[in-house]
Structure formats: C-alpha cells, structure tokens
C-alpha cells in the first residue's frame, strides 16, 4: 500500500513538474540609461505576450527574465552571463545594436538560440547560424527608405545627417546613399555628428539648406533628432523630414513640443493605428498596463515571444530540453516557417537570420502616428 502511495505521489510530482515547466526565456536590454525607452518597451511587449500565452494554457509556457545592460556592450555580456546562470534556454538577445553584437557572439559560442526584437545592425547576425532578428537589418532600412522616398516621389534632392560613431546610423546611411540614385534621388549634402559634438546642428542644417535639399533623411535615434527639428525651426528651414525606427519615441519625450515633429515621416514595421484584431488587442492591453501607446520596440518584443511560441509548438519541443537541443530545432523552424504578427504579415527569415517583411510608412500628424499608405 505504501509503495503504491509513494509511486502515486511520484507520478503526481513528475506530471505536475512537466505541466508547470516553462521555457526559460532571457534577454538583456537598457532598462536604465539613455536608451531605456527602447529597452522598457521591448520588455513590456514581451511580458504581455508571455502572460497571454501562459494564460491560454497550451503546451508552451514561458518564464521571462530581463537583465539591464544600460546600452553598454560590456554590461550586456555580464547580464547575459547572469541569465545563463539562471538557466536560460532561449534568448531574446539584446534590444540595442552595440550590446547585441557582444551578446550574439556569446549566444553563438554557447549554442543558445537568440531572436532579438530590435538590434538591427548587420554584425548582430553575421556569421552566426543561431541568431535571428525580428526587426529589419540596418542596411535594409536604408534601402527601404530610399525606395519609399523615391517611389512616392517625396523629393529629388535629399540631405543626410548621420551619427558617425554609431553602427546603427552608419549602417543605414551606407545603403541609403548607395541605393538613392537607383530611385531617382540625389544626395546633395551629407554631414555627421558624434558624441560630444551633438548639441549644435547649425552647420549641418545650413549645408542642407544651401544645397537645396527638399528632404532631410535622419538615420538616428530621436534625442538628437529632436534638437535638429528645433534648430531647423529656429532658422526657418522647413524641409520634409524622414526618419527610421529610432525616431520612434520622439513624441513621448517629456516637455517635447509636438508641433516640431508635425509632418515627420518614418519607416517602421509597426502601426499602432492598424485595425486588425491582433494589433488592436495588443495596443489595448499595453495601454491598459502602461498608459501609453506601444511603440515599435514593444511590438517587436511581443512578436518575438509569439514567434518562439509558434516555432516551439511546431517543433514539439518541451521545456526539459537543453538549450543546445532547442537551438538546433529553432534554427530548423525559423528558416522554414512563416509568421504573422503585429509587425507584419508573412514574416520569413533567411538562413543568415535576416527578416523579410513589408515596411510601413508613418507620418506624425497632430501629435500622433498615422499610417502613410
């Protein structure tokens, strides 16, 4: 009798264990520091997806953990190691490019599969078979921007202002300048700035203006962009402005005069105004929890978790598998599957980890993002 009881208890214990087991999903992000707005958004987006998936009660469950990397490569590796000690099986890489280049190398060496929501530099995935991106790789953002501007006939003469100590900015600028002529664009002025001389943009703007640029392309984050917009206004220069995903967030800066950003266009895969059920549901939940409209980073984080869920379900993976086993299965799934998420339909991945999906043009109107198409 006792034996039976014991074995029954054992069975119970084992099954409850299997039932309660969740995939340990870890990522590093700037939760403090200048880039925290991106890190917090991606983490919150991922958390919503994790909660939704766990509540559905399917076979796949997640336990999510984020560590702060303050947008610093060295701290990101420390954060990654902390996650590894915790027993991370699947990784969300890092949120920003520089730290993710460092953690992606660790992911590759440790054979822990990574899907980064938003680290977009080409070096993140380069030469690593197990690192994938949910966002566009930088070079593609440059090409897509040139194609969009030229295709829509926004301008013929464009100026580019970019940050020359930032891989993100440089990556986009390089392909933009290279492909611009193909789409009938002439780059009439090209100027740079860097940490330490990123306060005064009068020279860059004067040069764009005197060379007759009708549109200024700003491949950079929103903080310097906000200064550029303010200084252009002070000198009565009003070209069209075109930004990339880093521009996302400009409207949520405390004290920012939203009229400065009126008419600024940006290319981003996520449109919070979209009317499909998936986006509506996500936007509503995010607003309920955090009191603001989710940006593209939140959407990327959200999609990453759902993509993992789909891949794990299709691969019939279980939470007791090692990170290395999961890695092999995930590589197989991600290179073959098609995913539908809030950042795009028919999302597919190439073997090198780059994503293909259609970018959406957005414009800032009356202090909010509106779809251009």
């Amino acid at each position: 009798m006792r034996k039976v009881l014991v074995s029954m208890l054992l069975v119970l214990a084992v099954s409850s264990c299997a039932f309660g087991a969740a995939f340990k999903l870890g990522g590093t992000a700037p939760l403090t520091g200048g880039a925290a707005i991106y890190g917090m958004a991606a983490m919150r987006g991922a958390q919503i997806a994790v909660d939704e998936i766990n509540a559905m009660g399917g076979d796949v469950k997640f336990e999510l953990r984020y560590e702060d990397d303050t947008h610093d490569a060295e701290k990101a590796v420390n954060a990654y190691n902390a996650l590894k000690d915790w027993g991370m099986q699947l990784s969300l890489g890092s949120v920003t490019s520089k730290p993710c280049e460092a953690t992606a190398a660790e992911n590759f060496a440790d054979r822990i599969f990574a899907l980064t929501p938003s680290a977009s530099s080409a070096a993140v995935t380069e030469g690593k078979d197990n690192v994938f991106q949910m966002c566009f790789v930088d070079p593609n953002q440059g090409t897509a921007s040139a194609q969009y501007i030229g295709g829509k006939g926004f301008a013929k003469k464009v100026a580019v202002i970019w940050k020359n100590d930032d891989v993100y900015s440089k990556g986009i600028r390089d392909t933009f300048v290279e492909t611009a002529p193909k789409f009938g664009l002439e780059v009439v002025s090209e100027t740079t700035f860097a940490d330490g001389n990123d306060n005064d943009f009068s020279v860059q703007l004067t040069e764009a203006q005197t060379n007759g640029a009708e549109l200024v392309f700003l491949p950079m984050y929103y903080q310097p962009a906000s200064l550029i917009l303010a200084q252009a206004k002070a000198m009565d220069y009003a070209p069209k402005w075109f930004g990339v995903d880093g521009m996302d967030g400009i409207l949520t800066m405390e004290g920012f005069d939203k009229s400065l950003a009126e008419g600024v266009m940006l290319l981003t895969p996520f449109n919070s105004d979209a009317t499909d059920a998936r986006t509506k549901n996500f936007v509503a939940e995010y607003q309920k929890r955090h009191g603001e409209i989710p940006n593209q980073f939140a959407a990327d984080g959200y999609d990453c978790v759902y993509a993992y869920c789909q891949a794990l379900t299709q691969a019939k993976a279980t939470a007791d598998m090692s990170a290395e086993e999961l890695c092999a299965k995930m590589i197989e799934q991600f290179t073959t599957m098609t995913f539908n998420g809030v950042t795009g339909e028919n999302v597919r991945w190439a073997a090198n980890g780059e994503v293909t999906k259609d970018p959406k043009g957005m414009v800032i109107k009356d202090g909010a993002y509106v779809g251009l198409d």
Binding site: G33, N197, T210, M253
Partner: protein, 293 residues
C-alpha cells in the same frame, strides 16, 4: 553671409563652453584641483531648474535662483565629504576622487530622474534678434549667455582682486601653509570657492539646456570635458582666459565642421589645442607656473 552665420553659431556654442569653463577655472585657480564633477553639478542645476519651471510652474528666474541655491549646497557638500579629507593627499588621488564623484552624481541622477530625455523649457523663449533684414540671426539665449559670461567674468575678477575674501582666496592659491599662518581660514576659503563655482554651474546648466534643450543625466558630462578643454586653452586659472578659450573653442569647432569636415571637427579642435599648448604651454592667457596635475 553664411560665414557670419557660422561665426555666430560658433559664438553661441562657445559662450556655453565659456560659462562652464569659468567654473572650472575658478576652482582650479584657487583650490588647485580639477573638479571633474563640475559638469555633473551643471546637470543637477539643470534638473532643479527643469522641475521648478516645468512641473511647479515657477517663473524661470525663480527656477535659476533655486538651482543656484541647490547647487551651492551640493558643491559645498561634495567638497566637504569628498575633497576635504584629501587635502594633504597627492593631487592624483584628488583627481580620481573627482572622477568618482562625477560618476556618483550621474548615477544618482539616473535613479532619481530616470534616463528618459526631457525637453528643457528655454528660460528666455526661443526668439532671435534679426539683423540685416533677417539674414543674420542671434538667438536671445546666445545674447543672454554672452552677457552673463561678461558680467560673471567682471564680477569674479573684481571679487578676487578687490575684496578681503578674494585676497584670502589668492593667498590660499599661492601657498596654503603660509596663508594659514597669516590667520586665513583655508578650509572655509576653499569651501567658499566651491560654493561660488557650483552656483555658477547652476547658471551654466540653465543656459546650456536653454540653448540645447535635451536634458539627461549625462547632459553635463561631455560639455564639461569640452569646457575643461576651453579652460586649458585659455590658460587654466585665468578667468578672462576661460572666456576667451570657450569662445574660440566654439568658433573653431563650428568652422572645422563647416569648412573642413563634419567628421573631423573634434580632431581639428584638439589639434589646435595641441598646437597652442606647444607654443604657449600655460594656455593663451595663463601665467607660467608649476602645474600640479
């Protein structure tokens, strides 16, 4: 005309460097130490001003006074806790402490005010004086910064050369031991120096963020380094030197960006600095004296 516009841009950038450099040079001139935390005191001043004006809707003038008060207290506190115990220590130890203090202030600011950049409301509005039928424009903030620089420069120079406290400061600067023997309270004098320097930092913070309106915990750090360069350029310890150095640094930076290459502007600025220091090791207006760092 574009040349003149660039020149004015250079002056506006330079005036910001100048006003920060005045604080650096003042503390260095008297206490003979490099207060690397100066840039971060500027940041604290800017935050105090930001909250006073944006959140509690005080008039900008009150915001600046409040920031000066907080920064003065903060500056004296920093001096008391971090620098005074090291008065007899080698200057290298003090230098490292100052760098540590700088990081301490930055990280405390991160915890208190988070990293999200805030847009600073200009204390004088965003208008500009238009000259030559609008072809040239000098923004109000630039005019205010330059006037503030000149006033501060004159008042400081008079204070140091004419008043008893100023004389005590100069005595401490020349020889602390001898000054003490003459009955000067060296600790109080140095404390006063920090109080003045930090009060100036608050003014600089409000002006810096009015001109370039994004405010983050790291806002003061890089302009602080540039202003330190400007102070060295003009001759560290010399008050008119800091003013001249700041303006020249700003103008050189903008001209380098405009006429050489925007990618090389910092390289050009520092190349000019090296050349100046090779020709005049004490800086443009500096006195030839033994360096302690």
């Amino acid at each position: 005309m574009i040349f003149l516009n660039y020149f004015i841009s250079g002056i506006s950038l330079g005036s910001i460097y100048a006003i920060i450099a005045l604080g650096y040079t003042m503390v260095y001139g008297i206490a003979k130490m490099l207060n690397f935390a100066h840039g971060d005191v500027i940041m604290v001043g800017a935050y105090v001003c930001f909250y006073a004006v944006s959140r509690y809707e005080f008039p900008p003038f009150v915001g600046v006074i409040l920031a000066m008060f907080v920064c003065t207290v903060l500056g004296m506190l920093v001096e008391r806790l971090a620098y005074k115990p090291l008065r007899q220590a080698p200057s290298l130890a003090v230098l490292i402490t100052a760098i540590g203090m700088s990081y301490f202030l930055q990280n405390t600011a991160l915890l208190l005010w988070s990293s999200n950049p805030k847009v600073f409301p200009s204390i004088v509005g965003r208008g500009a004086f238009k000259l030559f039928e609008g072809k040239l424009s000098v923004s109000h903030i630039t005019a205010l910064t330059i006037s503030a620089c000149v006033v501060i420069m004159i008042v400081l120079s008079l204070f140091i050369s004419k008043t008893r406290l100023g004389k005590a400061m100069r005595a401490c600067s020349e020889d602390k031991g001898a000054a003490q023997l003459m009955g000067i309270n060296v600790n109080a004098t140095i404390s006063l120096t920090f109080a003045i320097g930090s009060g100036l930092a608050a003014v600089a913070g409000a002006l810096l963020c009015s001109a370039y309106p994004t405010l983050m915990p790291t806002t003061g750090a890089l302009p602080g380094i540039k202003a330190f360069t400007a102070a060295v350029f003009g001759g560290i310890g010399s008050i008119p030197g800091a003013f001249l150095g700041g303006l020249m640094l700003g103008v050189i930076e903008i001209f380098a960006k405009a006429y050489i290459s925007s990618q090389l502007s910092d390289a050009v600025v520092f190349a000019v600095l090296i050349i100046v220091l090779l020709v005049k090791p004490a800086g443009l207006l500096g006195k030839q004296a033994q360096e302690k760092v």
